[in-house]
């Protein structure tokens, strides 16, 4: 009876460890999958930026500095993405989002640009990508929250250090993006 109980307990522990291990691996892969989705949309956005700049620079001659800054940031962000530096990439992407919003706002002052079919198509494509990007970030944050909970709660907490799993950061909006945009300042 005693031996049967001990064997049963060991079997239960082994089964529990297998299940926990599999659950942690699934959570880790879930985070990687979600980050992969963000990367795909970021790359799509990076591909659209040169076309956008090309389409608007003829009309927005006075905004040369803003457009140059956008191209420069896009280069840096692409580099960070290639190097697999998510935190730096997230920071740069936040800045790109802010500059793209400025381009859109300032485009309002150029009627010829607003009527351009090419610009309208690019703007629609960019909006679509940004919506997808926002959704992908929320998916990533959910996956990271699930992952962090799994490694910090029992029984995952016992197994996670042995598997070398550590907390991952959630994607947060930069401070300037959380504030309401100062339209007066944007229009200079």
């Amino acid at each position: 009876m005693g031996l049967a109980f001990a064997l049963g307990l060991v079997a239960l522990l082994v089964l529990g460890s297998f299940l926990t291990y599999n659950a942690l691996v699934a959570r880790k892969n879930g985070v990687e999958n979600a980050f992969g989705a963000i990367e795909a949309y970021l790359k799509k956005r990076h591909d659209l930026i040169p076309n956008l700049v090309e389409a608007v620079k003829r009309y927005m001659a006075h905004e040369r500095e803003l457009l140059e800054r956008l191209v420069e940031l896009r280069e840096k962000a692409s580099g960070a993405l290639r190097e697999g530096n998510p935190e730096e990439d997230f920071r740069l992407e936040g800045e790109i989002s802010r500059l793209l919003a400025q381009v859109r706002l300032r485009a309002e002052a150029y009627p010829d640009l607003k009527a351009s079919q090419n610009f309208l198509q690019l703007q629609a494509a960019l909006t679509e990508v940004e919506d997808s990007l926002a959704a992908a970030r929320r998916f990533y944050n959910q996956a990271v929250t699930d992952y962090n909970n799994a490694i910090e709660q029992l029984p995952g907490r016992l197994l996670a250090p042995l598997m070398g799993l550590t907390r991952k950061p959630v994607f947060t909006l930069p401070e300037e993006e959380r504030e309401r945009p100062d339209l007066g300042k944007l229009f200079g």
Partner: protein
């Protein structure tokens, strides 16, 4: 047409409709009161003729007066809808046909309805809200029930189904269901099914462990749990098989940020596409819409279409026993205008007007 104008045009119909209502109610009441005497007379007549073994014919003849009464009340109900609801719907720019419903094939194409042996539809309402054309109808689903007295149809689901044509497409299907209710009405979520299975098999195993000492035959407690768990196991297997059925809708559950939303709904679909539609603002609006509606609902977004199925809704229903006067008319107008505006409120909650505007398709 302004509200006052509609009210004036409908008020003119009140007196003749009230006279008709009283007449029909009186007739229906008389027919129902007549039924026991009619049954007795028939019985006497059958006995006088020495007719034996004609119980079914007798029952059929007895059912004539109550059948007539119910038919008259049905006609009165249709007349009230035709005379009062239809003009109101038309004044608001909709087309309303009280006796027709969405065809069964169209309703089933939503993928939201459970399998049924009989389908009934009424209150077909068509129209346009902004850039969205829509069709809707009330429906009732019946299951065939076999008893020792024969076969009858039992209603197991009723509600309202809306079908919206969208000026843009969803690349992948997204579903919304009441929490724990499964992707289509009349089902159960995988978590609920697994929960049941876990509880019953857990109890079964516990029963086996506790009954270790008893070697002779299967202990009663284990046998009892085994029997109890069988239907749930069967249900789990059927559900599992349904997952492989093509066209059964998306299976991947999408966990969203809002706690209030998660307590009320389950969302299914592609993780990114579902989040694009169900933004935090839309989640909040859907919670408010659900609370205002007071009924559970399912929704499906597929290609250029959106479907919504509201359980337990019965629109444009007049109360046959309420005298038709100005007060009643005002109450009906308030309730039915709310019913007619339901499509707009759903589209607003889903943020679909904004979505159409963003894609440059917000015009009417």
């Amino acid at each position: 047409m302004e509200r006052e104008e509609i009210l004036a045009s409908l008020e003119a119909k009140l007196a003749p409709l009230e006279a008709k209502r009283k007449r029909e109610l009186l007739l229906a009441g008389a027919l129902l009161l007549l039924t026991p005497f009619w049954a007795y007379l028939l019985l006497e007549a059958f006995q006088a003729m020495g007719a034996r073994g004609l119980g079914s014919l007798w029952a059929l003849l007895v059912a004539i007066p109550p059948g007539l009464a119910l038919w008259r009340l049905g006609v009165l109900r249709s007349t009230l809808k035709w005379e009062l609801t239809k003009p109101l719907a038309e004044a608001l720019g909709f087309t309303y046909l009280p006796a027709l419903g969405l065809p069964q094939a169209e309703a089933e194409a939503s993928g939201l309805l459970p399998r049924a042996d009989r389908y009934e539809g009424e209150d077909l309402l068509e129209g346009r809200v902004g850039p969205f054309a829509f069709r809707s109808g009330d429906l009732a689903l019946y299951r065939k029930v076999r008893t020792k007295n024969g076969t009858r149809y039992q209603r197991f689901f009723s509600g309202t189904l809306y079908r919206f044509a969208l000026p843009f497409a969803f690349p992948q299907e997204i579903r919304l269901a009441p929490q724990g209710a499964g992707v289509r009405a009349g089902g159960a979520s995988p978590a609920l099914v697994l929960g049941f299975l876990a509880v019953f098999w857990g109890l079964l195993i516990a029963g086996l462990l506790f009954a270790e000492g008893e070697r002779e035959g299967l202990p009663l407690v284990v046998g009892g749990f085994a029997l109890l768990s069988l239907p749930f196991l069967l249900y789990g297997l059927i559900y599992g098989l349904s997952l492989w059925k093509p066209g059964a809708g998306p299976k991947e559950r999408v966990v969203l940020e809002s706690g209030a939303f998660e307590r009320l709904f389950d969302a299914y679909g592609d993780q990114i596409e579902a989040r694009k539609l169900l933004t935090p603002r839309v989640q909040e609006a859907l919670v408010e819409f659900r609370q205002a509606l007071g009924k559970p609902f399912w929704a499906a977004f597929r290609e250029n279409e959106a479907w919504i199925l509201v359980q337990g809704r019965n629109r444009f229903e007049p109360n046959l026993f309420r005298p038709l006067n100005q007060g009643t008319l005002a109450t009906y107008l308030r309730a039915w205008t709310k019913d007619l505006e339901e499509a707009r409120r759903f589209l607003e909650a889903m943020g679909l007007f904004l979505e159409a505007a963003k894609r440059g398709k917000g015009g009417g």
